[in-house]
Symmetry: C2
DNA sequence: GTCATTTTATGATAATTATCATATCAATAA
DNA sequence: TTATTGATATGATAATTATCATAAAATGAC
């Protein structure tokens, strides 16, 4: 519990699960983070890093870390979706990215900065691991294979954010909506039917649009039978056309 | 010369300078890349990495690497300015970033990808060092302090690109011009008077605008006495107002 | 279940930005 | 030096997007 004090987790009662059996093979199986590290670490290194790790259940809407807070952990998503977001003005925010299962939460700036320049909030009920940044830095210093693995994995996250951002900036509004719907379908849910985890406002914040226009264009897509909307569930009916709209954008 | 074959450098005659005296202290002084590494490497590691390095003079406008080419080097700028750019359509390109002296050229994707997803071109006559990616990866594997240094330095570049991109996307057109002029003044030239190294079209590609609007707004800023333009030289006459325009964006 | 707040939906209007057109100037190559 | 191309400049118009307004539906707290 030593590092968790510096991160504001609000909901009492805390539903944290302390991994009390550090060598328990049952724990080993259910924790994808541990599995992920398996290749780059020796058993004792795995043990050492695991000792710096805490796993928590986070409720939908809970703020995990706020902009300006010191970065003392690397956060990994076992389950759920997490948004990185930044306030732009009194009334506007941007969502930088959505971290999905088996992603690290955050960008590589966690290594070059001491404070978060964004906030982190759970979009849906999630299970995350907090790993002490200091422990990771120590491991990097003494294990180059681990260093490379971390660079590769975390740079992939940052790359995706960057590529998506550049792609979106050359699209018109319809192209952006098409892009984000296809992203959800192809990269998060692997299905053309999914429960949209974010509101129209959050979509707007993710793709740099006004909420009204998100609402409007999704209605239009529904009217044109490109998608079907039933409550929070969206089904893509015409993926080819959506792809065309996205790339023409 | 073994790794340079895989990167298209076109201009004959090649003005490359081969660092023939690998332990020559004169060479050590003029190469900022070598100075940069000093803290993280032992002498023999420095020697080893230096053996994988080639320094070149690149002419303004020369393409250093093209989108789709394999990534086999890490590129470092000793002198000059280098743009990372990507074609969006037949007629449109985006400039991802401009690398300045003492920067690495490229993003952290060089570690997670095998091919460049952007092209690299010299904006002005430049001196760059190509360091074999394989050598760097080997060094990372065996030297955690170096790994950490590389992560930190290269992630800073990627961070800057990301932060700038997000900042720009919430600004209007005037705010973007103000932002980029201040960026040149504060972060590249450290002076309110500088020779603009890029055309209006390139500025447009850098900040997601149409060329005509870049021209128009710079003319307007000149008419309003916020800047003075004389040939390629720009002088910021009213930095406070530019800052206000940039943040109001 | 009630109530307050937020979200979704739609219409109208205003502002911003892109596109098209024309002309002049500057840079480059032969 | 000359011809060509690209860059800069400006005007007019069209398209896109934001903003403002109103209303209905959904959500969350008590």
């Amino acid at each position: 519990m030593t590092f968790i004090i510096n991160c504001n987790i609000f909901t009492p009662p805390k539903m944290g699960i302390r991994m009390s059996e550090k060598r328990n093979s049952t724990g080993c199986q259910i924790c994808s983070f541990r599995v992920m590290l398996f290749n780059a670490l020796e058993e004792d290194e795995l043990y050492k890093l695991n000792a710096c790790r805490e796993q928590f259940l986070i409720r939908r809407g809970e703020v995990i870390c706020r902009e300006g807070e010191p970065i003392e952990s690397i956060i990994y998503v076992n389950q759920g979706l997490i948004k990185l977001h930044k306030r732009v003005s009194e009334t506007r925010s941007q969502i930088i990215s959505i971290a999905r299962p088996h992603d690290f939460v955050g960008l590589l700036s966690v290594f070059s900065k001491t404070k978060y320049y964004y906030s982190i909030t759970a979009i849906e009920d999630s299970s995350v691991c907090f790993i002490s940044k200091e422990c990771i830095l120590n491991e990097i210093r003494s294990n180059g294979r681990f260093a490379l693995d971390i660079i590769t994995r975390m740079s992939r996250i940052t790359d995706d954010v960057l590529e998506s951002k550049f792609a979106l900036s050359s699209k018109n509004l319809r192209g952006r909506i098409a892009h984000i719907l296809l992203d959800f379908a192809d990269n998060i849910y692997n299905s053309n039917e999914f429960r949209l985890p974010v509101s129209r406002r959050e979509i707007a914040e993710l793709i740099d649009m006004r909420t009204e226009n998100v609402i409007r264009i999704m209605s239009e897509f529904r009217k044109d039978r490109l998608i079907r909307i039933n409550g929070h569930t969206v089904e893509i009916m015409n993926p080819e056309m959506l792809r065309k709209i996205s790339s023409a954008g």
